[in-house]
Protein backbone atom coordinates (compact mmCIF):
# COMPACT_ATOMS: atom_id res chain seq x y z
CA UNK A 1 0.00 0.00 0.00
CA UNK A 2 1.46 3.32 -1.00
CA UNK A 3 1.29 5.82 1.78
CA UNK A 4 1.91 9.47 2.09
CA UNK A 5 5.12 10.99 3.40
CA UNK A 6 4.44 11.55 7.11
CA UNK A 7 4.03 15.11 8.24
CA UNK A 8 5.31 16.45 11.54
CA UNK A 9 2.68 16.91 14.25
CA UNK A 10 2.57 20.64 13.60
CA UNK A 11 1.83 20.12 9.93
CA UNK A 12 -0.81 17.51 10.64
CA UNK A 13 -2.96 20.01 12.46
CA UNK A 14 -5.59 21.89 10.46
CA UNK A 15 -3.64 24.75 8.93
CA UNK A 16 -4.96 28.15 7.97
CA UNK A 17 -3.36 27.77 4.53
CA UNK A 18 -6.17 26.14 2.58
CA UNK A 19 -6.78 26.73 -1.10
CA UNK A 20 -10.20 27.17 -2.64
CA UNK A 21 -11.42 24.62 -5.21
CA UNK A 22 -10.85 27.11 -8.02
CA UNK A 23 -7.28 27.77 -6.90
CA UNK A 24 -6.67 24.06 -6.59
CA UNK A 25 -8.05 23.46 -10.08
CA UNK A 26 -5.80 26.11 -11.61
CA UNK A 27 -2.81 24.80 -9.66
CA UNK A 28 -3.64 21.25 -10.73
CA UNK A 29 -3.58 22.30 -14.37
CA UNK A 30 -0.18 23.88 -13.82
CA UNK A 31 1.10 20.78 -12.04
CA UNK A 32 -0.07 18.49 -14.84
CA UNK A 33 1.54 20.77 -17.43
CA UNK A 34 4.83 20.85 -15.54
CA UNK A 35 4.88 17.08 -15.05
CA UNK A 36 4.20 16.61 -18.76
CA UNK A 37 7.23 18.80 -19.46
CA UNK A 38 9.30 16.65 -17.13
CA UNK A 39 8.18 13.27 -18.46
CA UNK A 40 7.88 13.84 -22.21
CA UNK A 41 11.49 14.87 -23.07
CA UNK A 42 13.10 11.63 -21.82
CA UNK A 43 10.30 9.67 -23.53
CA UNK A 44 10.90 11.51 -26.79
CA UNK A 45 14.67 11.21 -26.86
CA UNK A 46 17.46 10.33 -27.14
CA UNK A 47 16.76 7.44 -29.55
CA UNK A 48 15.10 5.02 -29.53
CA UNK A 49 11.85 6.95 -29.09
CA UNK A 50 8.32 6.53 -30.35
CA UNK A 51 6.68 8.85 -32.86
CA UNK A 52 3.85 9.30 -30.37
CA UNK A 53 6.20 10.65 -27.69
CA UNK A 54 7.87 12.97 -30.19
CA UNK A 55 4.48 14.27 -31.32
CA UNK A 56 3.28 14.73 -27.75
CA UNK A 57 6.37 16.76 -26.94
CA UNK A 58 5.75 19.33 -29.69
CA UNK A 59 3.17 21.52 -27.89
CA UNK A 60 5.31 21.44 -24.77
CA UNK A 61 8.47 22.71 -26.46
CA UNK A 62 8.08 26.36 -25.37
CA UNK A 63 7.93 25.49 -21.67
CA UNK A 64 10.49 22.68 -21.95
CA UNK A 65 12.90 25.08 -23.62
CA UNK A 66 12.20 28.00 -21.30
CA UNK A 67 12.77 25.93 -18.14
CA UNK A 68 15.59 23.86 -19.66
CA UNK A 69 13.78 20.59 -19.04
CA UNK A 70 14.75 18.85 -22.28
CA UNK A 71 16.86 16.12 -20.74
CA UNK A 72 17.01 12.40 -21.43
CA UNK A 73 18.49 11.39 -18.05
CA UNK A 74 20.32 8.46 -19.71
CA UNK A 75 23.34 8.66 -17.44
CA UNK A 76 26.01 6.12 -18.48
CA UNK A 77 23.50 4.47 -20.80
CA UNK A 78 23.18 2.32 -22.73
CA UNK A 79 26.79 1.23 -21.93
CA UNK A 80 29.62 3.19 -20.32
CA UNK A 81 32.04 3.63 -23.20
CA UNK A 82 35.57 4.91 -23.69
CA UNK A 83 36.46 8.49 -22.89
CA UNK A 84 37.48 11.05 -25.50
CA UNK A 85 39.67 14.09 -25.76
CA UNK A 86 40.56 16.51 -28.53
CA UNK A 87 44.24 16.95 -29.31
CA UNK A 88 45.25 20.16 -31.05
CA UNK A 89 48.39 21.49 -32.65
CA UNK A 90 48.69 25.18 -33.49
CA UNK A 91 51.03 26.98 -35.88
CA UNK A 92 51.99 30.60 -35.32
CA UNK A 93 53.15 33.31 -37.74
CA UNK A 94 56.71 33.08 -36.46
CA UNK A 95 56.83 29.39 -37.36
CA UNK A 96 56.55 28.13 -33.81
CA UNK A 97 54.01 25.52 -32.78
CA UNK A 98 52.02 24.76 -29.67
CA UNK A 99 50.14 21.65 -28.65
CA UNK A 100 47.31 21.08 -26.25
CA UNK A 101 44.49 18.79 -25.29
CA UNK A 102 40.84 19.26 -24.31
CA UNK A 103 40.35 18.53 -21.48
CA UNK A 104 43.75 18.87 -19.87
CA UNK A 105 43.91 16.91 -16.65
CA UNK A 106 47.03 18.79 -15.53
CA UNK A 107 45.78 22.36 -15.93
CA UNK A 108 41.98 22.26 -15.99
CA UNK A 109 41.28 22.82 -12.32
CA UNK A 110 39.10 22.71 -10.32
CA UNK A 111 37.59 19.41 -11.37
CA UNK A 112 34.28 21.01 -12.39
CA UNK A 113 36.16 23.16 -14.92
CA UNK A 114 37.83 19.99 -16.23
CA UNK A 115 34.45 18.34 -16.53
CA UNK A 116 32.93 21.28 -18.40
CA UNK A 117 35.75 21.07 -20.95
CA UNK A 118 35.59 17.29 -21.00
CA UNK A 119 31.99 17.60 -22.18
CA UNK A 120 33.24 19.35 -25.35
CA UNK A 121 35.16 16.29 -26.49
CA UNK A 122 32.46 13.87 -25.32
CA UNK A 123 29.64 15.67 -27.13
CA UNK A 124 31.62 16.05 -30.33
CA UNK A 125 32.68 12.40 -30.12
CA UNK A 126 29.01 11.41 -29.93
CA UNK A 127 28.57 12.89 -33.43
CA UNK A 128 31.75 11.59 -35.08
CA UNK A 129 31.34 8.07 -36.55
CA UNK A 130 33.68 5.46 -35.08
CA UNK A 131 36.43 3.86 -37.09
CA UNK A 132 35.20 1.34 -39.64
CA UNK A 133 32.12 3.28 -40.66
CA UNK A 134 31.74 3.53 -44.48
CA UNK A 135 33.13 6.71 -46.02
CA UNK A 136 29.70 7.78 -47.28
CA UNK A 137 28.23 7.74 -43.77
CA UNK A 138 31.31 9.51 -42.50
CA UNK A 139 30.87 12.24 -45.11
CA UNK A 140 27.20 12.68 -44.29
CA UNK A 141 27.90 13.04 -40.57
CA UNK A 142 30.34 15.87 -41.23
CA UNK A 143 27.49 18.38 -41.25
CA UNK A 144 26.65 17.41 -37.68
CA UNK A 145 30.04 17.68 -36.03
CA UNK A 146 32.01 20.09 -38.19
CA UNK A 147 30.20 23.29 -37.10
CA UNK A 148 31.03 22.41 -33.51
CA UNK A 149 34.66 21.67 -34.33
CA UNK A 150 34.96 24.90 -36.34
CA UNK A 151 33.81 26.88 -33.32
CA UNK A 152 36.27 25.06 -31.06
CA UNK A 153 39.07 25.72 -33.56
CA UNK A 154 38.08 29.38 -33.85
CA UNK A 155 38.09 29.76 -30.08
CA UNK A 156 41.54 28.18 -29.78
CA UNK A 157 42.95 30.44 -32.52
CA UNK A 158 41.45 33.55 -30.88
CA UNK A 159 42.65 32.50 -27.47
CA UNK A 160 46.24 31.73 -28.41
CA UNK A 161 46.69 34.03 -31.40
CA UNK A 162 47.66 31.26 -33.81
CA UNK A 163 47.39 31.07 -37.60
CA UNK A 164 46.30 27.46 -38.11
CA UNK A 165 45.15 24.71 -35.83
CA UNK A 166 44.81 20.99 -36.48
CA UNK A 167 42.45 18.95 -34.34
CA UNK A 168 42.04 15.24 -33.84
CA UNK A 169 39.66 13.24 -31.73
CA UNK A 170 41.29 10.69 -29.45
CA UNK A 171 39.25 7.75 -28.22
CA UNK A 172 41.05 6.43 -25.19
CA UNK A 173 41.34 2.68 -25.14
CA UNK A 174 39.07 1.06 -22.58
CA UNK A 175 40.88 -2.04 -21.32
CA UNK A 176 39.06 -5.24 -20.41
CA UNK A 177 39.63 -6.58 -16.89
CA UNK A 178 41.78 -9.39 -18.32
CA UNK A 179 44.05 -6.86 -20.03
CA UNK A 180 44.53 -4.96 -16.79
CA UNK A 181 45.39 -8.21 -15.03
CA UNK A 182 48.02 -8.93 -17.72
CA UNK A 183 49.25 -5.31 -17.57
CA UNK A 184 48.39 -4.86 -21.24
CA UNK A 185 46.85 -1.87 -22.94
CA UNK A 186 45.54 -1.27 -26.44
CA UNK A 187 46.18 1.77 -28.60
CA UNK A 188 43.98 4.85 -28.58
CA UNK A 189 41.94 5.44 -31.75
CA UNK A 190 42.62 8.77 -33.45
CA UNK A 191 40.20 10.46 -35.87
CA UNK A 192 41.31 13.62 -37.75
CA UNK A 193 38.90 16.52 -37.33
CA UNK A 194 40.60 18.87 -39.82
CA UNK A 195 42.88 21.89 -40.03
CA UNK A 196 41.37 25.35 -39.60
CA UNK A 197 42.57 28.92 -40.11
CA UNK A 198 40.90 32.20 -39.26
CA UNK A 199 39.45 33.86 -42.34
CA UNK A 200 39.43 37.63 -42.73
CA UNK A 201 36.03 37.98 -41.10
CA UNK A 202 37.32 36.14 -38.05
CA UNK A 203 35.51 32.86 -38.69
CA UNK A 204 37.45 29.63 -39.16
Amino acid sequence: MVEDIPMPPEAARPAPDRWSPVTRAVASAGIVLYLACVIMPPLAGPPPASGLAVAALQPLRPLVGALSLGHGYRFFAPDPGPGHSIRWSMEFADGSTRKGIIPDRDTDRPRLLYHRRFMISEKIAALVPPAGVPEEARRQSRGDWQPLVKDVAGHLLERHGGDRVTLELVEHYLPAPEEVMRAEAGADAVTPLGTYALAEEGLP
Binding site: M1, V2, E3, P6, M7, P8, P9, E10, A11, A15, P16, D17, R18, W19, R24, A27, I31, L35, V38, P42, L43, P48, R61, V64, G65, A66, L67, S68, L69, G70, H71, Y73, R74, A77, P78, D79, P80, G81, G83, S85, P103, R111, L112, L113, H115, R116, M119, I120, K123, D151, G154, H155, E158, R159, H172, L174, P175, E178, V180, M181
Partner: protein, 346 residues
Protein backbone atom coordinates in the same frame (compact mmCIF):
# COMPACT_ATOMS: atom_id res chain seq x y z
CA UNK B 1 -12.23 1.59 -0.71
CA UNK B 2 -13.84 -0.20 -3.65
CA UNK B 3 -11.79 -2.77 -5.44
CA UNK B 4 -11.17 -2.89 -9.15
CA UNK B 5 -13.30 -6.03 -9.39
CA UNK B 6 -16.25 -4.25 -7.86
CA UNK B 7 -15.87 -1.39 -10.30
CA UNK B 8 -15.72 -3.72 -13.28
CA UNK B 9 -18.84 -5.52 -12.11
CA UNK B 10 -20.62 -2.24 -11.64
CA UNK B 11 -19.76 -1.11 -15.15
CA UNK B 12 -21.13 -4.32 -16.60
CA UNK B 13 -24.43 -3.80 -14.76
CA UNK B 14 -24.66 -0.13 -15.62
CA UNK B 15 -25.36 -0.51 -19.33
CA UNK B 16 -28.85 -2.17 -19.23
CA UNK B 17 -29.88 -0.02 -16.33
CA UNK B 18 -29.21 3.09 -18.40
CA UNK B 19 -31.71 1.81 -20.95
CA UNK B 20 -34.18 1.26 -18.15
CA UNK B 21 -33.72 4.79 -16.99
CA UNK B 22 -34.50 6.14 -20.43
CA UNK B 23 -37.83 4.36 -20.42
CA UNK B 24 -38.73 5.90 -17.09
CA UNK B 25 -39.72 2.49 -15.98
CA UNK B 26 -36.56 1.55 -14.35
CA UNK B 27 -37.19 2.96 -10.91
CA UNK B 28 -38.88 -0.24 -9.89
CA UNK B 29 -36.28 -2.42 -11.60
CA UNK B 30 -33.82 -4.07 -9.16
CA UNK B 31 -31.17 -3.93 -11.91
CA UNK B 32 -31.68 -0.19 -12.17
CA UNK B 33 -31.29 0.21 -8.43
CA UNK B 34 -28.11 -1.86 -8.57
CA UNK B 35 -26.85 0.22 -11.48
CA UNK B 36 -27.61 3.39 -9.60
CA UNK B 37 -25.54 2.10 -6.74
CA UNK B 38 -22.81 1.23 -9.24
CA UNK B 39 -22.91 4.71 -10.74
CA UNK B 40 -22.63 6.23 -7.32
CA UNK B 41 -19.74 3.81 -6.83
CA UNK B 42 -18.06 5.22 -9.93
CA UNK B 43 -18.58 8.72 -8.65
CA UNK B 44 -17.25 7.62 -5.31
CA UNK B 45 -14.10 6.34 -6.90
CA UNK B 46 -13.69 9.53 -8.83
CA UNK B 47 -14.14 11.42 -5.60
CA UNK B 48 -11.55 9.17 -4.00
CA UNK B 49 -9.13 9.93 -6.81
CA UNK B 50 -9.76 13.65 -6.42
CA UNK B 51 -9.37 13.43 -2.68
CA UNK B 52 -6.10 11.55 -3.08
CA UNK B 53 -4.90 14.13 -5.62
CA UNK B 54 -5.84 16.97 -3.28
CA UNK B 55 -4.21 15.28 -0.30
CA UNK B 56 -1.04 14.62 -2.28
CA UNK B 57 -0.63 18.10 -3.71
CA UNK B 58 -2.58 20.47 -1.48
CA UNK B 59 -1.89 19.32 2.08
CA UNK B 60 0.12 22.05 3.78
CA UNK B 61 3.72 20.98 4.41
CA UNK B 62 6.51 22.11 6.67
CA UNK B 63 8.79 24.40 4.62
CA UNK B 64 11.93 23.24 6.44
CA UNK B 65 12.95 20.55 3.90
CA UNK B 66 12.56 23.08 1.11
CA UNK B 67 14.68 25.56 3.05
CA UNK B 68 17.42 22.95 3.39
CA UNK B 69 17.19 22.15 -0.31
CA UNK B 70 17.52 25.90 -0.93
CA UNK B 71 20.69 26.18 1.12
CA UNK B 72 22.35 23.18 -0.53
CA UNK B 73 21.24 24.04 -4.06
CA UNK B 74 22.28 27.64 -3.54
CA UNK B 75 25.72 26.56 -2.36
CA UNK B 76 26.12 24.29 -5.37
CA UNK B 77 25.14 27.14 -7.68
CA UNK B 78 27.65 29.43 -5.95
CA UNK B 79 30.35 26.92 -6.82
CA UNK B 80 29.03 26.38 -10.35
CA UNK B 81 28.87 30.14 -11.03
CA UNK B 82 32.37 30.60 -9.63
CA UNK B 83 33.70 27.97 -12.05
CA UNK B 84 31.79 29.52 -14.97
CA UNK B 85 33.47 32.81 -14.04
CA UNK B 86 36.93 31.26 -14.26
CA UNK B 87 36.51 31.14 -18.04
CA UNK B 88 33.32 33.11 -18.67
CA UNK B 89 34.35 34.47 -22.07
CA UNK B 90 35.11 30.97 -23.35
CA UNK B 91 31.78 29.61 -22.16
CA UNK B 92 29.51 32.56 -22.96
CA UNK B 93 31.47 35.06 -25.08
CA UNK B 94 31.11 35.90 -28.76
CA UNK B 95 34.24 33.87 -29.63
CA UNK B 96 33.72 31.14 -27.06
CA UNK B 97 33.79 27.37 -27.45
CA UNK B 98 30.57 27.78 -29.41
CA UNK B 99 29.58 30.96 -31.18
CA UNK B 100 26.14 32.29 -30.19
CA UNK B 101 24.78 32.09 -33.73
CA UNK B 102 25.62 28.40 -33.91
CA UNK B 103 24.09 27.72 -30.50
CA UNK B 104 20.99 29.63 -31.55
CA UNK B 105 20.77 27.54 -34.70
CA UNK B 106 21.23 24.23 -32.87
CA UNK B 107 18.91 24.93 -29.93
CA UNK B 108 15.14 24.66 -30.07
CA UNK B 109 14.62 28.38 -30.66
CA UNK B 110 13.17 30.76 -29.78
CA UNK B 111 12.29 28.83 -26.64
CA UNK B 112 15.78 28.09 -25.31
CA UNK B 113 16.49 31.65 -24.25
CA UNK B 114 19.62 32.87 -22.52
CA UNK B 115 20.59 36.29 -21.26
CA UNK B 116 24.07 35.60 -22.63
CA UNK B 117 22.70 35.89 -26.18
CA UNK B 118 22.36 39.66 -25.71
CA UNK B 119 25.90 40.23 -24.49
CA UNK B 120 28.52 41.05 -27.06
CA UNK B 121 31.14 42.92 -25.09
CA UNK B 122 34.01 41.20 -23.38
CA UNK B 123 32.74 42.20 -19.94
CA UNK B 124 29.15 41.12 -20.51
CA UNK B 125 29.54 37.39 -19.90
CA UNK B 126 31.50 38.00 -16.71
CA UNK B 127 28.97 40.54 -15.48
CA UNK B 128 26.05 38.17 -16.03
CA UNK B 129 27.88 35.18 -14.56
CA UNK B 130 28.63 37.49 -11.63
CA UNK B 131 24.93 38.27 -11.30
CA UNK B 132 24.29 34.53 -11.05
CA UNK B 133 26.99 34.22 -8.40
CA UNK B 134 25.56 37.06 -6.31
CA UNK B 135 22.03 35.67 -6.63
CA UNK B 136 23.28 32.23 -5.60
CA UNK B 137 24.99 33.65 -2.50
CA UNK B 138 21.78 35.49 -1.57
CA UNK B 139 19.77 32.32 -2.16
CA UNK B 140 22.04 30.29 0.05
CA UNK B 141 21.80 32.80 2.87
CA UNK B 142 18.11 33.45 2.31
CA UNK B 143 18.35 37.15 1.47
CA UNK B 144 15.42 38.42 -0.63
CA UNK B 145 14.86 34.74 -1.23
CA UNK B 146 12.03 34.81 -3.82
CA UNK B 147 13.94 37.24 -6.05
CA UNK B 148 17.24 35.43 -5.51
CA UNK B 149 15.62 32.11 -6.42
CA UNK B 150 14.21 33.41 -9.69
CA UNK B 151 17.48 35.13 -10.70
CA UNK B 152 19.47 32.03 -9.75
CA UNK B 153 17.22 29.86 -11.89
CA UNK B 154 17.46 32.35 -14.76
CA UNK B 155 21.26 32.31 -14.44
CA UNK B 156 21.42 28.54 -14.52
CA UNK B 157 19.06 28.22 -17.49
CA UNK B 158 20.94 30.98 -19.34
CA UNK B 159 24.21 29.15 -18.86
CA UNK B 160 22.77 25.80 -19.93
CA UNK B 161 21.13 27.24 -23.04
CA UNK B 162 24.17 29.31 -24.08
CA UNK B 163 26.82 26.65 -23.46
CA UNK B 164 25.14 23.32 -24.29
CA UNK B 165 28.53 21.85 -25.15
CA UNK B 166 29.72 22.33 -21.57
CA UNK B 167 26.79 21.19 -19.43
CA UNK B 168 26.05 17.76 -18.03
CA UNK B 169 23.86 15.96 -15.51
CA UNK B 170 24.87 18.24 -12.67
CA UNK B 171 23.22 21.20 -14.43
CA UNK B 172 20.07 19.17 -15.17
CA UNK B 173 19.67 18.24 -11.51
CA UNK B 174 20.53 21.71 -10.24
CA UNK B 175 17.80 23.10 -12.48
CA UNK B 176 15.33 20.61 -11.02
CA UNK B 177 16.25 21.77 -7.50
CA UNK B 178 16.07 25.48 -8.32
CA UNK B 179 12.64 25.21 -9.95
CA UNK B 180 11.29 23.72 -6.71
CA UNK B 181 13.05 26.40 -4.67
CA UNK B 182 11.60 29.15 -6.88
CA UNK B 183 8.08 27.76 -6.61
CA UNK B 184 7.92 27.23 -2.86
CA UNK B 185 8.50 29.43 0.19
CA UNK B 186 12.15 28.42 0.41
CA UNK B 187 13.07 31.37 2.63
CA UNK B 188 10.48 30.57 5.29
CA UNK B 189 13.08 28.90 7.49
CA UNK B 190 16.84 29.02 8.05
CA UNK B 191 17.13 32.34 6.23
CA UNK B 192 18.25 35.90 6.81
CA UNK B 193 14.81 36.96 5.60
CA UNK B 194 13.30 35.05 8.50
CA UNK B 195 15.71 36.61 11.00
CA UNK B 196 15.19 40.16 9.81
CA UNK B 197 11.41 39.97 9.56
CA UNK B 198 10.35 37.43 12.16
CA UNK B 199 6.83 36.34 11.39
CA UNK B 200 5.41 33.62 13.57
CA UNK B 201 3.29 32.30 10.70
CA UNK B 202 6.09 32.32 8.11
CA UNK B 203 7.42 28.87 8.91
CA UNK B 204 4.02 27.23 9.33
CA UNK B 205 3.01 24.51 6.91
CA UNK B 206 1.89 25.81 3.55
CA UNK B 207 0.43 24.36 0.39
CA UNK B 208 3.13 26.02 -1.73
CA UNK B 209 5.83 24.26 0.26
CA UNK B 210 4.07 20.97 -0.32
CA UNK B 211 3.68 21.54 -4.06
CA UNK B 212 7.35 22.46 -4.42
CA UNK B 213 8.50 19.38 -2.52
CA UNK B 214 6.07 17.08 -4.35
CA UNK B 215 7.24 18.38 -7.73
CA UNK B 216 10.81 17.71 -6.69
CA UNK B 217 9.94 14.24 -5.44
CA UNK B 218 8.10 13.26 -8.61
CA UNK B 219 10.79 14.79 -10.83
CA UNK B 220 13.47 12.83 -9.00
CA UNK B 221 11.51 9.62 -9.54
CA UNK B 222 11.34 10.43 -13.26
CA UNK B 223 15.10 10.99 -13.35
CA UNK B 224 15.87 7.65 -11.72
CA UNK B 225 13.28 5.76 -13.75
CA UNK B 226 14.60 6.95 -17.10
CA UNK B 227 18.19 6.61 -16.00
CA UNK B 228 17.50 3.00 -15.05
CA UNK B 229 15.40 2.18 -18.10
CA UNK B 230 18.03 3.72 -20.40
CA UNK B 231 20.60 1.37 -18.90
CA UNK B 232 18.43 -1.61 -19.79
CA UNK B 233 19.31 -0.92 -23.43
CA UNK B 234 22.92 -1.80 -22.72
CA UNK B 235 24.27 -5.34 -22.55
CA UNK B 236 26.93 -4.43 -20.00
CA UNK B 237 24.27 -3.52 -17.42
CA UNK B 238 22.57 -6.89 -17.88
CA UNK B 239 25.94 -8.64 -17.73
CA UNK B 240 26.88 -6.75 -14.59
CA UNK B 241 30.06 -5.35 -16.10
CA UNK B 242 29.01 -1.74 -16.71
CA UNK B 243 30.71 -0.48 -13.58
CA UNK B 244 34.01 -1.67 -14.99
CA UNK B 245 33.45 0.53 -18.03
CA UNK B 246 33.12 3.52 -15.76
CA UNK B 247 36.00 2.53 -13.46
CA UNK B 248 38.44 1.87 -16.31
CA UNK B 249 37.65 5.11 -18.13
CA UNK B 250 40.78 7.16 -17.64
CA UNK B 251 39.04 10.43 -18.49
CA UNK B 252 36.62 10.11 -15.58
CA UNK B 253 38.85 8.36 -13.10
CA UNK B 254 39.73 10.14 -9.87
CA UNK B 255 39.97 7.01 -7.74
CA UNK B 256 41.78 3.94 -9.03
CA UNK B 257 39.28 1.08 -9.03
CA UNK B 258 41.23 -1.20 -11.37
CA UNK B 259 41.47 -3.71 -8.52
CA UNK B 260 37.94 -4.61 -9.58
CA UNK B 261 39.54 -6.53 -12.48
CA UNK B 262 40.46 -9.24 -9.97
CA UNK B 263 36.97 -9.28 -8.45
CA UNK B 264 34.41 -9.64 -11.25
CA UNK B 265 31.64 -10.73 -8.91
CA UNK B 266 32.04 -7.52 -6.92
CA UNK B 267 31.70 -5.60 -10.19
CA UNK B 268 28.57 -7.63 -11.00
CA UNK B 269 27.04 -6.97 -7.61
CA UNK B 270 27.74 -3.22 -7.67
CA UNK B 271 26.47 -2.89 -11.24
CA UNK B 272 23.25 -4.82 -10.68
CA UNK B 273 22.56 -3.14 -7.35
CA UNK B 274 22.87 0.28 -9.00
CA UNK B 275 20.71 -0.74 -11.95
CA UNK B 276 17.84 -2.26 -10.02
CA UNK B 277 17.90 0.40 -7.33
CA UNK B 278 17.51 3.08 -10.01
CA UNK B 279 14.65 1.25 -11.70
CA UNK B 280 12.89 0.48 -8.43
CA UNK B 281 13.42 3.87 -6.82
CA UNK B 282 10.15 5.40 -8.06
CA UNK B 283 8.24 2.52 -6.47
CA UNK B 284 10.13 1.92 -3.24
CA UNK B 285 10.69 5.49 -2.11
CA UNK B 286 6.99 6.12 -1.34
CA UNK B 287 6.12 3.32 1.13
CA UNK B 288 7.55 3.97 4.56
CA UNK B 289 8.76 0.37 4.78
CA UNK B 290 11.22 0.73 1.90
CA UNK B 291 11.83 4.48 1.83
CA UNK B 292 14.86 4.30 4.09
CA UNK B 293 16.45 1.68 1.85
CA UNK B 294 15.82 3.79 -1.25
CA UNK B 295 17.33 6.91 0.28
CA UNK B 296 20.16 5.07 2.05
CA UNK B 297 21.24 3.49 -1.25
CA UNK B 298 21.51 6.94 -2.80
CA UNK B 299 24.35 7.86 -0.45
CA UNK B 300 26.96 5.27 -1.53
CA UNK B 301 25.86 5.39 -5.17
CA UNK B 302 26.19 9.15 -5.53
CA UNK B 303 29.18 9.61 -3.26
CA UNK B 304 30.82 6.72 -5.10
CA UNK B 305 30.26 8.44 -8.45
CA UNK B 306 31.54 11.67 -6.94
CA UNK B 307 34.70 10.20 -5.46
CA UNK B 308 35.60 7.67 -8.14
CA UNK B 309 34.59 9.59 -11.26
CA UNK B 310 35.27 13.15 -10.21
CA UNK B 311 31.66 14.26 -10.40
CA UNK B 312 31.15 15.24 -6.79
CA UNK B 313 28.92 18.18 -7.71
CA UNK B 314 26.54 15.86 -9.57
CA UNK B 315 26.55 13.37 -6.70
CA UNK B 316 25.83 16.06 -4.13
CA UNK B 317 23.03 17.55 -6.24
CA UNK B 318 21.35 14.13 -6.43
CA UNK B 319 21.68 13.68 -2.68
CA UNK B 320 20.14 17.11 -2.11
CA UNK B 321 17.21 16.07 -4.30
CA UNK B 322 16.81 12.93 -2.17
CA UNK B 323 16.47 15.21 0.83
CA UNK B 324 12.97 16.06 -0.43
CA UNK B 325 11.92 12.59 0.72
CA UNK B 326 13.32 12.92 4.23
CA UNK B 327 10.45 13.64 6.65
CA UNK B 328 10.47 17.18 7.96
CA UNK B 329 10.44 15.91 11.53
CA UNK B 330 13.77 14.17 10.97
CA UNK B 331 15.30 17.29 9.46
CA UNK B 332 13.83 19.42 12.23
CA UNK B 333 15.60 17.27 14.80
CA UNK B 334 18.83 17.58 12.83
CA UNK B 335 18.77 21.37 12.64
CA UNK B 336 16.94 21.93 15.92
CA UNK B 337 19.70 24.04 17.51
CA UNK B 338 19.67 26.47 14.57
CA UNK B 339 15.90 26.73 14.60
CA UNK B 340 15.99 27.32 18.34
CA UNK B 341 18.37 30.23 17.88
CA UNK B 342 16.13 31.69 15.24
CA UNK B 343 13.07 31.41 17.43
CA UNK B 344 14.83 33.05 20.34
CA UNK B 345 15.91 35.95 18.21
CA UNK B 346 12.45 36.37 16.78
Amino acid sequence: MRTATTTADALRVAAPADRGAHTSAGDADPAFREASRARSGQGGELREWLAAWNAFWFTPADPLPLAMVRICAGALLVWAAFVWLLDADAFFGATGWQRPENVWRMNDQPWQWSWYFVTGSSGGPRLLAGVTLVAAVMLTLGIATPLAAVVSLAGLISAANRAPLNVFGFDDVLGMLLIAVAIGPAGAALSVDRLLAPDVTASRPTVRANIALRLLQVHLCVVYLFSGCGKLLGASWWEGTALWGAAANVQYRTLDLRWLAWHPLVTNALTLATLWWEIAYAAIVWPRLTRRVAIAMAVPVHLGIGLAMGMMEFGLAMLVANMAFVPAAVLRRAVGPFLGTARERS
